[in-house]
């Protein structure tokens, strides 16, 4: 327990974090690329086609991981924001700001791949089913955080405002998802279900799990890279940074 607190304390220190993240990213990049490649190859070329949808279902191997990680990313952003507000740790600010664009891009990927998947499956580029509609609202929530940050001139205040907004959004996300669910079942006859729940076969599940893991690593890596760039700029005149960069 003591060790864990010490670790968390060190994470808040820019010099320590800078060094730690540098090593971590160097290791994370090849692992992520490998996992993405393995998962994509498995899902695209090895797994059997779906009984009802044929080969178009293979988009699931990017659509679902992107959607899952996009939603998780919002919670990462919220936790970072909460830490920044409650304990006033500047590193948490940097983490929150680093997570936002990554989450937004992944949400967009989930939406676009969902639309591409929809065309051969249901004949339309866009269907207002519960999951896709919820994803769209999640995208709006992400973009709102980014827009709010850009609108404030005082960036310290901007970070705090975004933390408040993200926390408000976090409390609302379960309500939004549930209400969209109920909205969908209210307006659609029960027989017509666009995204039906069906038991997924093991041969299709494993590559999906690999891809979900790969996307989580991708999120972490992109977030860390964003944080490193931000820290480098924030502390560009700091003695410890100049020393570290001259040495390496």
């Amino acid at each position: 327990m003591q060790g864990m607190w010490a670790f968390i304390h060190k994470l808040g220190s820019p010099p320590w974090f800078f060094g730690f993240s540098g090593t971590l990213v160097r290791w994370l990049l090849p692992v992520t690329v490998l996992l993405l490649a393995v998962g994509a190859y498995w899902g695209l070329l090895v797994a059997p086609p779906d009984f009802r949808q044929g080969n178009s279902y293979r988009i699931i191997y990017i659509h679902v991981p992107a959607a899952v990680v996009a939603l998780a990313g919002y919670y990462v952003m919220a936790i970072a924001g909460a830490i920044s507000l409650i304990w006033r740790i500047k590193m948490a600010d940097v983490a929150m700001r680093a997570a936002a664009p990554v989450g937004a891009v992944l949400t967009a990927v989930a939406l676009v791949t969902g639309a591409i998947w929809g065309k051969p499956t249901w004949g339309a580029w866009w269907v207002w089913d519960a999951r896709i509609t919820s994803m769209l609202i999640l995208l709006f929530l992400y973009l709102g955080v980014v827009a709010l940050f850009e609108a404030y001139e005082n960036k310290t205040a901007a970070a705090k405002a975004c933390a408040v907004l993200t926390l408000v959004g976090t409390v609302n996300i379960p309500i939004i998802y549930k209400s969209v669910d109920w909205w969908y079942s209210l307006h659609q006859p029960a027989s017509l279900k666009f995204t039906g729940e069906s038991a997924i076969d093991a041969s299709m599940l494993y590559p999906l799990l690999v891809m979900i893991g790969a996307f989580y690593l991708l999120f972490a890596m992109s977030m860390l890279l964003n944080m490193r760039a931000e820290l480098l700029w924030q502390h560009r005149n700091a003695h410890w940074l100049r020393q570290r960069l001259d040495v390496s």
Binding site: L143, G144, A147, L148, A151, A157, A161, V164, G169, S179
Partner: protein, 233 residues
């Protein structure tokens, strides 16, 4: 301003003061009260113009149309909620007061709701008839809008508090709170739709009530925090 030897106000009195002050300010300015209603009136008119005058089509869409327009009207008034206080410095006074900013702000929000959202809800049957909403839906419309505009005003207060220090923050405010308004819209329009169909709207109304209760408890905290951030920026 208080002198040192005067006994300090109780929380309830301070709340009441804010409520009265803003209530009076809103009542004094006819524009602040009438404009949202006029907006509602005019935008409701746009729908038949855009969709065609077919009464059956309009009637079937009426619950959704009325609710969307109410949401838009709420967005428009939210932008002004803390603006005048921010500009004339009374917001800073509120922040320095010994009472929690969240409660004082709630006084302002309450006055705002009564003058805008509540009024809109009570007047809505007029516009509902223009769209041909069947009479069995009218009561639920008013009730859902009463609860719903309360939620929308509370959410709008959070957005307004976050954007009050930003120039032309009105559009940004809309971007921020439209996603948060979605559940209110869904519950409200569903309640009215169910009532029109002759089914039981009570589940949706209960959900709306729960939402309102939750927001009444939590939104002021966010508003207080956001106001302080805006003042500091």
């Amino acid at each position: 301003m208080q002198s040192v030897d005067r006994p300090s106000l109780s929380l309830l009195t301070a709340f009441g003061r804010q409520f009265r002050r803003h209530g009076q300010a809103l009542m004094a300015s006819l524009a602040d009260v009438a404009n949202p209603l006029l907006f509602f009136f005019m935008v409701v008119t746009l729908f038949p113009l855009g969709l065609g005058p077919d009464p059956q089509q309009l009637a079937s869409m009426a619950p959704g149309i009325l609710w969307v327009v109410a949401l838009l009207a709420s967005l428009m008034v939210s932008a002004r909620m803390f603006a005048s206080d921010f500009e004339d410095g009374s917001l800073e006074q509120m922040a320095l007061a010994p009472h929690p900013l969240s409660v004082l702000a709630l006084g302002e929000v309450a006055a705002h709701w009564l003058a805008t959202g509540c009024l809109l809800a009570l007047v809505s049957p007029l516009f509902a008839m223009m769209l041909g909403l069947p009479p069995q839906g009218l009561g639920v419309l008013v009730l859902s809008l009463l609860l719903g505009t309360l939620c929308l005003t509370l959410i709008g207060a959070v957005g307004s508090a976050l954007t009050v220090s930003i120039r032309r923050g009105g559009l940004l405010l809309s971007l921020l709170i439209i996603p948060l308004n979605v559940p209110v819209l869904i519950f409200g329009s569903a309640a009215v739709t169910e009532a029109v169909m002759g089914r039981d709207p009570s589940t949706w109304l209960t959900l709306m009530g729960a939402l309102a209760a939750g927001m009444l408890a939590l939104a002021p905290l966010a508003v207080g925090a956001a106001l302080r951030i805006s003042l500091d920026s």
